[in-house]
């Protein structure tokens, strides 16, 4: 309230024309992305029809479905890093566990119903994140960022080694999921139906996360981000908060991973390992952590470019190097990522890791002033 009134007073005082309320760019970006996702299959089908009959289950729709599921992984990473300061280098662990769990379940019981796959993925993602989070985040003294970062990396690495050596889950071969998932009795083949299901899941996960970080709970998270010690003195149980967010992120990752396994028809050690975890970090940093939509865009851009470039033999080889270079540039010069180019500081709901010295202005609702920092 104070801030807004002050603005209005300023306007009157110096008579300059200034917008009364700052334009919120973030929701515009979100809505634009949603529209893009909803219209894409129709658009691309017409574009690539090449005179033949319209096939909505075409290659481009299927590829983008995979990317949407990976975007869920990106969102889960952002919840950890962008909003709670938990540098999780091992987020793929939960993504992959979700996949492995439903793959094994399907192999043992023959179940294929989406109505089981989704809750199963969520559940196993939640529980594993709870366990790992309890180990990494809860202790007498606050664990350092480095411990959490490398601890999660180790967890993802160890998991990759473990499943690669465990015959029960296919060892190095991974597990092939033969059947299509079913929804209310009908097979759901990869295609436009599956696409919209993925969009729906991403949307729900996104909205849930958005709600979480803009709630009272989210305010506490913002406090943790700004100044942990201060919040601790105020009596907040920091570690419990972090664990809750971490578990929720794990839930989303497991959810995405379970659907992903059934979409690809395959889950292997790579799904749970360090490379995928690294990509989660890349999606987040590139797109812009602390905005939720940033990592979604980051996933879309990075994976999309990977698909496009995979056709050119030369470029394909250099693409991962380029990704590393991009990450370096982003980290050093544009820590707010792609979205940061458009969204002002005051709109961001997370800015952990911004270089000290840069002003981090009020990060909560455009009404409550933050006097310090």
């Amino acid at each position: 309230m104070t801030e807004t009134t002050a603005n209005l007073a300023d306007d009157k005082a110096d008579g300059k024309q200034r917008p009364r309320l700052p334009l919120s760019v973030l929701p515009i970006i979100e809505i634009a992305m949603l529209a893009l996702l909803m219209l894409y299959p129709i658009f691309i089908t017409y574009l690539t029809a090449e005179g033949e009959a319209l096939d909505f289950n075409n290659y481009f729709v299927v590829r983008v479905t995979s990317i949407i599921l990976l975007a869920m992984l990106a969102v889960s990473f952002d919840l950890c890093w962008g909003y709670s300061g938990i540098m999780s280098f091992g987020q793929a662990l939960f993504f992959g566990i979700g996949g492995y769990f439903v793959a094994k379940l399907s192999e043992e019981t023959g179940m294929t119903s989406m109505l089981i796959i989704i809750p199963a993925g969520m559940l196993v993602g939640l529980i594993s994140a709870l366990l790992v989070g309890w180990f990494l985040l809860i202790s007498k003294r606050t664990p350092t960022i480095i411990f959490v970062a490398l601890g999660s990396l180790t967890a993802s690495f160890a998991a990759e080694r473990l499943v690669a050596g465990w015959q029960w889950v296919g060892a190095g071969n991974g597990m092939s999921i033969w059947d299509f998932p079913t929804l209310f009795g009908t097979d759901l083949e990869p295609g436009i139906g599956f696409y919209y299901l993925a969009v729906a899941c991403l949307l729900i996960a996104y909205l849930a996360s958005r709600y979480l970080v803009r709630s009272q709970f989210g305010l506490a998270l913002a406090g943790i981000r700004q100044n942990e010690d201060r919040l601790a003195f105020l009596g907040y149980r920091l570690q419990a908060f972090k664990l809750i967010v971490f578990s929720f992120a794990g839930l989303i990752a497991g959810w995405g991973g379970a659907i992903y396994a059934f979409h690809e028809g395959f889950v292997g050690p790579a799904t749970v390992g360090v490379t995928t975890s690294t990509y989660a970090v890349l999606y987040g940093l590139f797109g812009g952590v602390g905005t939720l939509i940033g990592p979604v865009i980051g996933a879309g851009v990075i994976e999309g470019l990977t698909v496009i470039l995979s056709d050119n033999e030369t470029l394909k080889a250099y693409w991962p190097i380029a990704l590393g270079a991009v990450m370096l540039v982003v980290v050093a010069y544009q820590p707010t990522g792609l979205v940061g180019l458009l969204v002002t500081q005051r709109e961001r709901f997370g800015s952990f890791g911004i270089r000290k010295g840069k002003k981090s202005s009020g990060t909560d609702d455009a009404g409550k002033a933050d006097g310090h920092d």
């Binding site: 480095i146 990396l153 590393g324 370096l328 980290v331 050093a332 890791g353």
Partner: protein
Amino acid sequence: MDVAIKLIFDVLAFSSIMVLVVLGLAVIASMMGIFNLGHGEFVLLGAYTVYIFRELGLPEWAGMLAAPFLVAIAGLVIEIVFIRRLYASPVIAMLATFAIGLIIRELIRVLIGGQYYAIDEPVPGSVSLLGVDVSAWRAIIIFLTGVLMVACFIFLTRTSFGLQIRGALENPGLARASGVSTTRLYAFTFAFGAALAGLAGALMVPLFSLSADLGVRFLVQAFLSVMLGGVGTFEGPILGSAVIGAMVPGFQWLREIPLFGIMVGDLIQPIVAEVLVFIVALIIVKFRPDGFITKGRI
């Protein structure tokens, strides 16, 4: 008795390699507060140097000799161009090192084509140690590491530069206040850490085959060693590496002993023994977050 000798030898050999890898990492971490997430890639660069030398027709030992110097230069360049400006925010620096490691890793993957390459050791065959046949090359690694450790110790305790390093290690602020040029010091330390890692990579590539993902596995083990050993001292990382170095081959050997009449090996597959190292190490770190030898800060 034979088994015990073989076991101790294996442990010593692996620990030696770990010490070389970890020392640089730990010193950088304690002095500058930055955990170099690309450190594994310095190891990779050292191994790659040997490979390049071999491709050029030069003998492997020449590559091993050149590796620490070349990797030191690489480390120096990285420090000056990227890391130096990020000391104020360690978290950003960490992410930057992660990105740099990624670039190096993928660059090498392009250059060597994603396969595994076998490199011959300069000294093949075995020697007889107390009646047991052990690999000659591993014996040389243990010997070289020992010599290097002694040299480092002398350097740190007898030279003035070494004194500056130890001071900056224990208390960087005070060191700076006392007029020690931390810029030069940091640059040197970073390059030195890289050199050691490069040497480790060069020395052990005959044992481990060259591949682009060599760095990742060493990063995890190095991290555990540093956490176990504690940061801020010279002896801490050595102890940590010794522990990890003992566990990795040790757990594999553990599978060979009978326990209460049951072969441990029947219960524990090699893969479990490997993952067990991580779990045990993480548990120890959790209960002793400062590591075994605690003098400095992280």
